[in-house]
């Protein structure tokens, strides 16, 4: 019997890299399976609110979902490590670790350990986010003190430790809040996406590097009972489609960001680097936060250590093999 999967997504499919792979995967699966798996995408909130995609897939109310799984860190503390990690890996080492370093298997265990009945498949990745959009440039750690900023995820916790007043406003309110000074800064995503929200029109400092999110990964979550119903051929097709979507999503962002960023410069946006000493201090605080999280959750600890271990060996290669960016 043909499988019909309703697939709610957490991001609008018009967002490059973040939402577009979901539409691509849905089309590709339907076409390549000759209709034996039909996937219908539901834009954010149409079927189920983005924050509840995991729950409703796990409960079997919907067969599949496509989301940034970091939204579920309130239910599964270890998932941020698979979604975006401050001072974490770049996209390609991340997929290296995920496919070959046991990441994929660990993610299934992490969900199972919390009682969630899902099969998770890496199905999209984008490169670094910008470190955010600010009214003023950042010269020292002191500058974060008292700053009103929208910052999601573990990075937000780091800034909170530094005395910033961190909020989690929804994307729709950011432009106005930034323009009116309700907040002094915000991070959102990579330039090709930030552009759609118009931040460049209201504040002029766009900071780099995106220390809080070097990679951002999206996953296709499939209810495990539904997954069990698929044939080997269908399973292979889902895996292949998601792997391809991961590549294509990354490609789309990498292709578009430079041009968008250059356009920002023309409009008088200052693209500035956060000074190295500030980054080093941010890294210290981040390590502290991650260790704290690791002490609270066994799965977090295990995954964190696995990633750290891989990053140590990867560094040996990374430092030497790639050309410096300015050459």
């Amino acid at each position: 019997d043909d499988l019909r999967w309703k697939m709610p997504v957490a991001f609008s499919t018009n967002l490059p890299g973040l939402g577009s792979p979901a539409a691509w995967v849905a089309d590709n699966l339907t076409t390549a399976s000759d209709g034996s798996i039909q996937v219908r995408v539901y834009e954010p909130g149409k079927l189920v609110p983005p924050f509840d995609i995991l729950q409703s897939v796990s409960d079997g109310k919907i067969a599949a979902g496509y989301t940034w799984i970091g939204y579920d860190q309130g239910k599964v503390p270890a998932v941020p490590l698979f979604a975006a990690v401050p001072f974490g890996m770049k996209p390609w080492p991340y997929i290296g670790w995920y496919y070959y370093g046991g990441g994929h298997e660990m993610l299934q265990e992490v969900y199972a350990n919390k009682g969630f009945n899902v099969h998770a498949q890496l199905c999209g990745i984008i490169g670094p986010e910008t470190a955010g959009w600010y009214k003023e440039s950042i010269k020292s750690l002191e500058d974060y003190k008292g700053m009103k900023i929208r910052f999601a995820g573990l990075g937000g916790k780091v800034l909170e430790k530094l005395g910033a007043s961190v909020t989690m406003m929804p994307g729709g309110e950011l432009y106005q809040a930034l323009e009116k000074g309700t907040i002094d800064g915000t991070e959102f995503s990579m330039p090709a996406i930030d552009q759609l929200l118009g931040f460049d029109q209201v504040v002029k400092y766009n900071l780099f590097p995106g220390w809080h999110q070097q990679f951002t990964a999206q996953y296709m979550l499939i209810n495990k009972d539904e997954w069990a119903k698929t044939t080997e051929a269908q399973k292979a097709l889902v895996e292949a489609s998601c792997t391809a979507a991961t590549t294509r999503g990354l490609a789309e962002g990498e292709y578009k960001n430079g041009k968008v960023l250059a356009g920002f410069q023309d409009e008088g946006v200052h693209a500035e680097q956060i000074p190295r000493d500030v980054l080093l201090e941010l890294k210290d605080v981040t390590d502290e936060v991650l260790k704290e999280e690791a002490s609270k959750d066994a799965d977090f600890k295990r995954v964190y250590e696995s990633q750290q271990e891989f990053m140590e060996t990867y560094k040996v290669w990374d430092e030497r093999a790639y050309l410096p960016a300015d050459l």
């Binding site: 939204y71 009682g115 005395g163 909020t167």
Partner: protein, 212 residues
């Protein structure tokens, strides 16, 4: 109920021009002993929860002031706001059903006889409201339990923990509407079939005053 120069009370208490009074047409059902009891409980909870609006106002003022005066805003305070506001209206749903303040299209309804209205009420309760509530409660209980089982917290690191509490309030509030609906069902059967024994006829507006 006109307020003009001469009959305006000198300071002190002015009667509230409750806008709803002019809008809601209430079916005047008799009450029963059990209904009286159930209604009183639902009303007390709803009225008690009303004070949350004052608390939410306070929390918002505190959040704004602390952001500008002390330079600190927080995810925590934002979450406290929607937790309290959510609890406020959720717990008020059953109370609103008891005082029959839900909006109706009254065009035909108010011209019908009391018995016809009661038949409509019986149909609505049995075929529309109660099935809807029953399904909702049936789905909401496991939803709250799974939140409790995984120890769900806010997705913001600095947010509130114990999400299950508000999710339990959600399930509870629907169970409460179901109770209020049951009480209403008894009043309807009391009118139509004399069972359970009707106590006295009360009007919706009176009901609002003495159900406390």
């Amino acid at each position: 109920m006109t307020v003009s120069e001469h009959d305006a009370p000198k300071g002190g208490y002015t009667p509230i021009p409750v806008a709803d009074e002019f809008l809601h047409h209430h079916t005047e059902l008799p009450t029963t002993r059990i209904s009286q009891w159930l209604d009183a409980a639902m009303t007390a909870i709803g009225k008690g929860a009303s004070w949350l609006w004052l608390v939410v106002t306070g929390v918002i003022i505190y959040a704004v002031v602390s952001r500008y005066v002390f330079g600190q805003g927080s995810v925590l305070l934002e979450e406290v706001q929607w937790h309290l506001a959510g609890a406020g209206w959720l717990l008020g749903l059953a109370y609103t059903l008891v005082v029959d303040d839900h909006v109706r299209v009254d065009v035909l309804h108010e011209r019908l006889s009391l018995r016809t209205q009661a038949w409509i009420e019986l149909f609505g309760l049995m075929c529309l409201l109660m099935p809807f509530l029953a399904l909702a409660v049936y789905e909401m209980v496991p939803y709250a339990i799974s939140s409790w089982e995984v120890g769900e917290t806010s997705q913001a690191p600095a947010g509130l923990s114990h999400r299950w509490v508000l999710k339990a309030v959600l399930a509870l509030s629907f169970a409460m509407i179901l109770i209020a609906a049951l009480s209403r069902l008894l009043k309807v059967t009391a009118l139509l079939f004399g069972f359970p024994k009707p106590i006295r006829i009360i009007t919706g507006t009176e009901n609002k005053e003495d159900a406390s």
